[in-house]
Symmetry: none
Subunit: 248 residues, 2 copies
DNA sequence: GTCAACAGGTTGTCAGACCAATTATAAAAA
DNA sequence: TTTTTATAATTGGTCTGACAACCTGTTGAC
């Protein structure tokens, strides 16, 4: 006979997973202080002893270091996606805008496809709100860019891969910081951006990753084509090879 | 002024030492049952919570196994410290290995497609040489990994996007540094790796980015599936959304 | 003899209290 | 005002008691 060795997951283990989730999502960064035990106890709805057991296990394994009277702190030497950050920033600083844009296109395509495959109602809702924010801020250029950035980050979160979202974040920030400043305000087209963003979310909701990706490329292209017109050094280039162009 | 970093030994730590003393003296033999928590509490003159913390630490490290309702038992296999030092820590730390692998898969897919679109005779030639190098080094594990790494870098160069190849380089290096060390040498399959690499180059030469990408995923999967078997915490996941599976 | 119900032992969890170390704040002294 | 000191608030460390969940053996009805 086959004996099922199903054992109920203990409360501390659930707490550990929850904390790991927070670390993974980047909400808890190296050096950050964990909320006090009593607070976590209330937040998770479990006894303080369970919190203690979970935390002390993670301390033992090396995630946290703890000082009585001060708190529990996430060590800064655990492997995390943010480890790249320093080096990656240097790398990004050295290259041409076209390569950055191309990389962004590929990453965003992947992200959109993943989001289409994974997103649930909650994520769709968040995306809708992000689109609404773009629409609401479309009058002011700076706030428009900010909202657009938030939209892409929300998308990245829906893809549930912190490595990809942190890479993407840096690339977008770099693009904005270095080049968008030179773009005349008249060139951005908030109306079209809102429209494409909306269509992206629609496609994601419909689980159609391919079409969502195609619209995303269109969305990114809105900015890119204008950029190419302004800066002659930038030659337009072919569409990313990992997309299949579809009529919308 | 010199600050002494004397820290009071905690109660649970004292309990652990006491229990360890009993194990070393042979009073507690493998398979034996530890006295109930309350009894130990009275015996050591400390609170039950301290006993619990000490015991659960020793359970985590691998000294005991515990069954609710029965008791805590000294394991009959060796309580080796390296479980604590190496593996367990990295099992918990391996939390994002999946994200790294997934990111790599997406990037390599893009790279392969781009390479298929751009590669000329010279690049094909370089790729062939890289494959030959893998074949030549397939006997020695370390040199094999090195050659495989070179192959992927050659591929990235053929894609002609320095940003993507830098990112990819960082990810691969991190994967190798942090996790491959735990892979038994017997698990790598140089023969299959050579074969898939060869097929990738063939598809690139034939300008068939889609199929090249499919083979690349297969190539990466060779390592991944073994890794999943070693570290159970790593759940296998679906293929990247940006690929279209094709029969080869 | 078989099976259900019960009782005892044991770990799992929760709640509250108090202790100990640190930090923040306010009062007092310079 | 600035510095020092005293006090309070915050937070991890420990203790205790209570109950739940689980395993085991015993008892008793059938």
């Amino acid at each position: 006979m086959k004996v099922e060795s199903i054992q109920k997951t203990s409360t501390p283990e659930l707490v550990v997973r929850e904390i790991l989730k927070n670390i993974k999502s980047g909400e808890l960064k190296p050096g950050d202080k964990l909320p006090p035990e009593r607070e976590l106890s209330k937040a998770f709805g479990v006894g303080r002893s369970s919190i203690r057991e979970a935390v002390s296990a993670m301390v033992l394994v090396g995630y946290f270091h703890v000082t009585q009277g001060k708190g529990v702190f996430l060590r800064d030497d655990i492997p995390s996606p943010h480890i790249f950050n320093g080096k990656l920033r240097d790398v990004l600083a050295a290259y041409w805008i076209l390569d950055l844009i191309e990389t962004r296109e590929h990453l965003e395509c992947s992200v959109v496809r993943m989001a289409a495959a994974k997103a649930g109602d909650k994520e769709i809702q968040q995306l809708r709100e992000a689109v609404d924010a773009i629409r609401a801020n479309s009058a002011d250029v700076n706030r428009f860019y900010e909202s657009d950035f938030d939209f892409h980050m929300t998308l990245a979160e829906a893809a549930e891969n912190p490595v990809m979202s942190s890479i993407l974040k840096m690339i977008i920030e770099k693009l904005h910081a270095d080049y968008m400043a030179f773009m005349p305000d008249t060139l951005c087209r908030p109306d079209r951006a809102v429209e494409t963003a909306e269509r992206i979310v629609d496609r994601i909701e419909g689980k159609d990753g391919e079409r969502a990706c195609a619209v995303m490329l269109e969305h990114l292209g809105i900015v890119k084509t204008e950029l190419v017109r302004i800066i002659p050094e930038i030659k337009p280039h072919r569409n990313p090879q990992n997309m299949v162009l579809l009529e919308s």
